[in-house]
């Protein structure tokens, strides 16, 4: 597990692993997998709250294929919040969900067209090795959280994003 900081590594090992190899076109097996996804997410979110590291909100439609929510990152005591969305691909869990932050589309090179975040070279090999044991919670912990930690400070420093309070202040001045 090269490429992640110690706290991410220790967190991810505490997220329960999944067992069912099923994707959204697999009927009853998918329902089983979806229950496992929820259990892992609930545990992860409880853990985050207990450690004072709550950093996302997430929910899915009834069939569990479309997920939406919010995620945030605190930089210099200011909280930057973004919409979060992704689809469960038809080939899941062989392929990981491609997490999108549509508001940041076009603002950073570490993003594919459409707002999909560009993951590190370490993520896909680790996902492949752990298929089908990793789920949405693992993707958030190993994919999105490190991405925010690396990109948000950079986006703020280069002026690509401005905190919402400062936006209002600027508007009031004008």
């Amino acid at each position: 597990m090269d490429g992640w900081d110690a706290s991410t590594k220790s967190t991810v090992t505490k997220i329960p692993l999944l067992t069912t190899r099923a994707g959204p076109r697999d009927g009853a097996e998918w329902t089983k997998r979806l229950k496992e996804e929820y259990q892992a997410l609930i545990k992860y979110m409880e853990m985050n709250k207990a450690n004072d590291n709550d950093w996302f909100r997430i929910s899915s439609g009834p069939d569990g294929t479309k997920w939406k929510g919010k995620c945030w990152y605190v930089h210099n005591l200011l909280k930057y919040e973004f919409d979060l969305q992704f689809d469960i691909p038809v080939t899941y869990p062989a392929t990981a969900p491609e997490i999108e932050l549509p508001e940041l589309d076009g603002k950073t090179a570490k993003m594919y067209r459409g707002g999909k975040i560009c993951l590190t070279i370490h993520f896909k090999p680790l996902w492949a090795k752990n298929c089908p044991r990793f789920g949405v919670a693992h993707a958030l912990c190993l994919g999105l959280a490190p991405w925010l930690a690396a990109e948000v400070p950079h986006l703020v420093d280069t002026g690509m994003i401005v905190h919402k309070d400062n936006v209002t202040a600027t508007k009031a001045d004008a």
């Binding site: 692993l17 190899r21 076109r25 229950k35 929910s59 689809d87 038809v90 090179a109």
Partner: protein, 405 residues
Amino acid sequence: MAGGEHLEKDDVKVAGKEKRVMSSEVVDSNPYSRLMALKRMGIVDNYERIRDFSVAIVGVGGVGSVAAEMLTRCGIGRLLLYDYDTVELANMNRLFFQPHQAGMTKTDAAVQTLSGINPDVILESYTQNITTVEGFDKFMGSLTRNIKGESLNGKSGVDLVLSCVDNYEARMVVNQACNELGQTWMESGVSEDAVSGHIQLLIPGETACFACAPPLVVASGIDEKTLKREGVCAASLPTTMGIVAGLLVQNTLKYLLGFGVVSKYLGYSALKDFFPTMEMKPNPQCTNNSCLQRQREYEATKPARDAAAKAEAKRLAAEEAEAASVSLHEENEWNICLLDDEEPKDVRERIPDIPSSSGNLPQGLFRELPDSEVLDKSVISSESFVDPEGDLEDLQRQLEALNAL
């Protein structure tokens, strides 16, 4: 999402009601004269058949757009084009698209250019993502319609699918669709550092599928760790992409028109001008159920295949015997002697033993991703796994409660 307003659109453009005659007449005004010459020279038996074929191109980027242009110029019958992206100025280091097309969807821009080059080709453009559940259904729907637009009840209506996408996820989706349809396809790829690429033929049940083993890539000769990735997702070159598109369409023409040797896997290393080849058998433990189903079907045809091979060997032997019995000219006043023009059957350097999907790889090739590992149960306790019990609605309520906190 870029080009979102086009997402649901299927644009089926049947250009020109009547196709021009595919003439072999050698005049400046005949667009097919140089292609039909392949027939005169004996390279291809019946070039006109190209018009009977439908080819689906998934991904109309640096490789797919060039492949589409090549097939259009060859007079292919029908092209189905899939992409959800739009043309950008950042694409101008590659071939095909032009600056004035920036902002158009890649599929619309491609149809615009291709229909101008050859109005005989039927072009269908699908501006959509194929990896989502709805996108996949539409993808399958389009692949199972014939040239007249009639649904074939789940049977494939295309002759070949070309994967020209730039990511593992989309390749796995093409693999899924082709495994379900029993549809032969070819995969292509260019590395993120732009200095290597590959093409691969996949025949469901007969060759390894894309999920049988982690994807194969060509070593560029650069140490991955020294590769600088700051501020970039991928590099690209028009040369590497054009070469890979050329290799892909060459293999396509050989496959469709039945000439030469169709490559199973052909790699390209630009830094060393090295072209590794290999073949891969399917993995009996593949995690893709449709692949396993196709493997069983292929296995069931073995007696028929063996009989056909035997009959072919017999026919060849008889032909050879007949050729040997034809006597040479009795008089040869000028001592004319012809060189033996019999070509070796297979000019490629063959790899002596065909690796299975998990076997050893030829030099210069490596696996892009690791195999999934079996967990050591002595290290990971059962408490590390989720509890399989529980009610879905109850779990959804629990998560919503946490969301509200």
